[in-house]
Structure formats: structure tokens, C-alpha cells
């Protein structure tokens, strides 16, 4: 793009400021995790891994972590099944009902989480379903559903229609077509979506706060601890979480991006 030296310098300056803003809140806790912390004050001259050691013994945090993993895996599994189902249904034809359904699926993701959370809260209360990890799982599933649905749908639509027709033409059943033709071509998009959905569920706070019972996920535990103050091992936890979610996102990107080039010779198999 057009720009002079001065412009570039200005851009870099602003970017530097943005980096300070973005990384400031991150750097301090993570850096602190490698030092001794007494009464909230970091001794920058005493490097130590004590925080990480203490983390292993912190029962409440570990339990919250376990709950977070359970919720994440369950929600992702649910979202994958339902999202894939919905994507196939949407792709199978055109109707007003389908458009409305798609809109409904997108709602929990587009609306502020407070609304999704509150509506589920009211719903569970009215059907007298106690709040628990199950309600959290439902909340997370509904939240990440749109992501999984959209990812699978986009990939599904990119597959030439004639592949499915060819499979049927050669005598395969619906299930065989799904297994031999569609799944191999969808798998990378699906895994990418699953990983990203897990990362989203892992850190989800707002909906969880509203629909959880007595069980804590990690974000809830951290939120509660904010009132009481943090123990030093939280810094270690934060560093590990950042590492974990970064790895997840890189994995998700790696999985979704290389797309097998589908058949493209001459005109694509569109109907006349």
C-alpha cells in the first residue's frame, strides 16, 4: 500500500502501543509464575518453579479443571453430532423452514451470552431441571453449535454434488456414501471445528456462571477466587492455560486449512 516512511513509523508506533495493551495483562501473571510471590508481591530476584509445584496440589483447581474437560468434551461431542446433522439437512434442499432453522442455530452464538444463559436458566427452572454440570454442558453445546455447523456446512457445500450422486449411482446406500465418500472429505474440517469449539468451551465464563449449579468449571473457580485473592499457583495455571489453548488453536488451524482439492475438470457438476 502507499505510504511514506513517516506513515510506516506511525503505524509501527501505534502497533507497538497496541501490543503493550494486549500483552500487558498477559505478561505480568505469566512472568510472575516463574518467581517467588509473597503476599501478592513478586520477588523478581528469586526465580522459582514453586508456583507450578503448588498447582499440582491445589485440589479445588484440579477438580475445576476436570469439570472443564468433561464439559468441553461432552459439549463438543454433542455439537459435532447435531451440527453435522444440521449441516446435512440444510444442504439437502431449499426451504423457508431451513432458513429459519439456520437462524435459530446461529442465535446463541450471535446474541450476547447473557441472553443465552438467562433463557436457559429460566427454561431449566420452569421444567424443574436442577442446575448442574449437565445444564452447563447443554449451554456450551448450544453456544458452539453454530461454529461446528457452519464449518461443516461450508466444507460440505464445497464438495461437488455429483460426488454424492456418483456414489448412489454406483449402488451405495446412504450410510455407505457418508462413510466412504463424505466423511473422508469432511474429516479435516470437522476436527478443526471440534478443536476450536473445545477451546471456546474451555474459557466460557458468562453462560456458565448463569447455568451452573454447585459444580465449578475452571473459569468459575477463578472468578470465585478473584474475590478472595489469588494464590501464586494461579499464575502457573494461567501460563499453562495459555500454552494449552494456543496449542489447540494452532492444531485447529493446521487441521482445517489444507483442503483436498476436489474434482475440478471443465465445468463443475451443476444442474443445467
Amino acid at each position: 500500500m502507499i505510504g511514506s516512511r513517516a506513515t510506516t513509523a506511525l503505524l509501527i508506533a501505534v502497533t507497538a502501543i497496541v501490543f503493550v495493551i494486549l500483552y500487558g495483562p498477559i505478561v505480568v501473571p505469566i512472568a510472575s509464575s516463574f518467581f517467588v510471590v509473597k503476599h501478592g508481591a513478586v520477588s523478581w530476584d528469586q526465580p522459582s518453579l514453586a508456583a507450578y509445584g503448588a498447582l499440582i496440589g491445589n485440589e479445588s483447581v484440579l477438580e475445576a479443571l476436570r469439570n472443564t474437560m468433561i464439559v468441553g468434551l461432552a459439549a463438543v461431542a454433542g455439537a459435532m453430532v447435531l451440527g453435522t446433522l444440521l449441516a446435512f439437512h440444510y444442504n439437502a434442499g431449499r426451504s423457508k423452514a431451513r432458513e429459519i432453522l439456520q437462524f435459530v442455530v446461529f442465535l446463541p452464538f450471535l446474541m450476547p451470552p447473557i441472553i443465552t444463559g438467562l433463557s436457559l436458566l429460566i427454561f431449566f427452572r420452569e421444567i424443574e431441571f436442577d442446575r448442574s454440570l449437565v445444564t452447563v454442558i447443554i449451554g456450551h453445546t448450544v453456544f458452539v453449535l453454530a461454529l461446528v455447523y457452519r464449518t461443516v456446512l461450508v466444507r460440505l457445500q464445497s464438495l461437488s454434488r455429483s460426488l454424492v450422486e456418483a456414489s448412489y449411482d454406483l449402488g451405495a446406500s446412504g450410510f455407505q456414501t457418508f462413510r466412504y465418500v463424505l466423511l473422508p472429505n469432511l474429516s479435516s474440517a470437522m476436527s478443526g471445528a471440534a478443536v476450536l469449539a473445545f477451546a471456546l468451551s474451555f474459557d466460557e465464563t458468562m453462560i456458565t456462571i448463569l447455568v451452573t449449579g454447585t459444580d465449578n468449571t475452571l473459569p468459575i473457580r477463578l472468578w470465585a477466587m478473584m474475590r478472595l485473592g489469588f494464590s501464586p499457583d494461579i499464575n502457573a495455571l494461567v501460563a499453562l492455560i495459555l500454552l494449552f489453548t494456543t496449542a489447540l488453536c494452532l492444531l485447529a488451524a493446521r487441521l482445517t486449512l489444507p483442503i483436498t482439492r476436489t474434482e475440478r475438470s471443465g465445468t463443475a457438476g451443476r444442474r443445467p
Binding site: 450422486e165 449411482d169 454406483l170 451405495a172 475438470s265 465445468t267 463443475a268 444442474r271 443445467p272
Partner: protein
Amino acid sequence: MSTDGTLLELKSISKSFGAVEVLRRVNLAVRDGEFMTVLGPSGSGKTTILRMIGGFAAPSSGDILLDARSILGMPINRRPFNTVFQDYALFPHMTVAQNVGYGLTVRGVPRAEVRRQVAEAIELVQLGELAGRLPAQLSGGQRQRVALARAMICQPRLILLDEPLAALDVELRKQMRLFLKNIQREIKTTFLFVTHDQEEAIAMADRICVINYGRILQLGTPHEVYYRPNSEFVARFFGDNNLIEGRLVDGDGAKRRIETPIGTLVCAIDGQPDVASAENGRRAFAVIRPESVAFNRANAAENTATGIIAAVSFGGATTVTEVRIDGADHALGMRVMTPSRVEGAALAPGERVSLAWSAAECRLVLA
């Protein structure tokens, strides 16, 4: 197969997409073992016919009979037909061998048997060394042959081909025409081939079905359709025909005269009851193939015209001469096609010539 050799019959098939009528009461009988080509321009409905036979679309009304039994409710994967798709639809994540063997695999044929049959099929289409390749690694022509092998291996009653040569370049297309024709003769399976290319149709078909605007206009051998078109559309479709508009006058049963701007022409009537019984004064066209016209032989012919040469186009094996005919008040030209000569064209623009053709080479179609 019913007694007259009909394998598949379309009975009064109509299809509308919303308000658009794509097929109107189409009747077609495909004979067992023949190579039939459905020929028409884009939007004529030819691909729709194919898709309905294959089961990918359902007719709005009418019936499809296989061996005289309706197959309308039969789902795609139960119909004993296989399709070669326009974009080949090869499964991109499977090798050539896996693609070809797919139809057998999903039927539960044991692996060893699948391997054997696949090897045979691949040999038949001459793709021997490429069995382990992925479609992305193949050329267009190779992919086409894989699609064909895949369709043949299940030994269907009918193979449907949806403009399979459209994506290939000219030379390859010519080679593939021959290849497909030979394969069809060898395996004796009925082929239903859809195309918009009339050269292709003439070269390959046992019978050609010409379709436009959802209606079948003519069904016959390439020779019939080429030399004896029964409508203006078909006459024009096979390119380069001279169509001279005029009004019918009297005739006996075998011949009829037509008054045109270039004079009164005598045309033969060949199995055309509509032309024979049309009233005098009816608008019609005299159809004359460019290669049927001779230069400067006026004395022996039933039909003659004189004019001045407007242009001479060298087209390789043949040369096309455009002649502007005398007596026409607006520019009326005729095209004459002659074999090219090494020494160059005998005639040059501006020269005066006379043209001649017999009544047998002059056909009538109603306007």
C-alpha cells in the same frame, strides 16, 4: 427386454421447475445394445432426461419403463444404470483402482474378486499403470476413462453419459469418440450419450434424438437426420445447410415445387406426409446441403441458380464458397462446399458461376 428390443421407454414425460417447463410430453424408446445420442442446445432439456433416467430427478408427470415395468419410484442406488458425469465425479481421496472398484465394494463383493475385475476394467480403458494414482494426478482424458471404467464395471443395463467430452480439447475429443464407440461395440452395453455437439453425435450414434425446448424433434440414424431433416430447427442445427425460404406450390406425391426468391425449385418428398399434404402457399424452406451443390453443370440438373462469388474460405479438407444469387432482392447467399485442391480454389471472388443440384438433394421442411 420387451419383444421389440426396447430396453427403456420414456412415456409422455414432462418436467417443470417451478414455472419453467423443461420437458414437454417426451416419448422415447431406447433399444437394447444401441448407442443413442440425445442432441440439443443448452437448455433444451437433454440433461434433464438423463438425470430422470438415472433417478436424480423425478418427472412432473409421465412414466419411465424398464423392460416394460415402471421404475419411477426406484431410488438411484437400485437402478441398474450407471452414469458418467460431466465433471467425472471421481472421488478425490480414492485411487483410480478404488474409484473403479467402488460399485463392487459397496455391493459386498469380496476383495480379491474386486481386485480382479478392477484390473480387467482398467486394462479395457488402457490405464494400466495408473491404478495407484489419485484423480488429481491424472489428465482430463485419463480421468474420463476412469469414470467410464467405474461405470462399466458393474455391468449396468444402460450407461448414461452426460457430455463427457465437453471438457477435453479438440484432438483428444476426436480420439475419445472413437474410443467410446469401440468400447460400446465391445461390451455391447446400451449407451445413452448427451451432447450439444452435432459432429460428435453424427460420429458416434446408432440413432440420434434431436431435442429442443423440451420436445423431441427428430429421431433417426445420423444419415437420416443429416440428409433428411424434418424441421427447420434440425435442418439449421446441422450447420452450414442452405435454407431458402419460399412458398409451396403444386406437386405430385414424390416431388413438390416451391417458389423462392431465386426461382422455383423442385424438391423430393421422402416420407413427409406433412409436406405432401400442406396447402399451396404455405411457407416452407428448401434445404440444400452445401456439398450437394455443383458448379457450372446447369444443363443436367433439375435446380439451378446463377450468381457471383462473394467469398472463398479454405477450411482444410474442404473449401466453402459463398455465392450471392441473382434475382434475390435482398442478399441471398448459398454456400457450396467442395473438396480442396492443392492448386488452390478454382474460382475467385467476383467471378460469375452457375449452381446446380438435383431434386433428390433438395429437401423441404415446413416453416
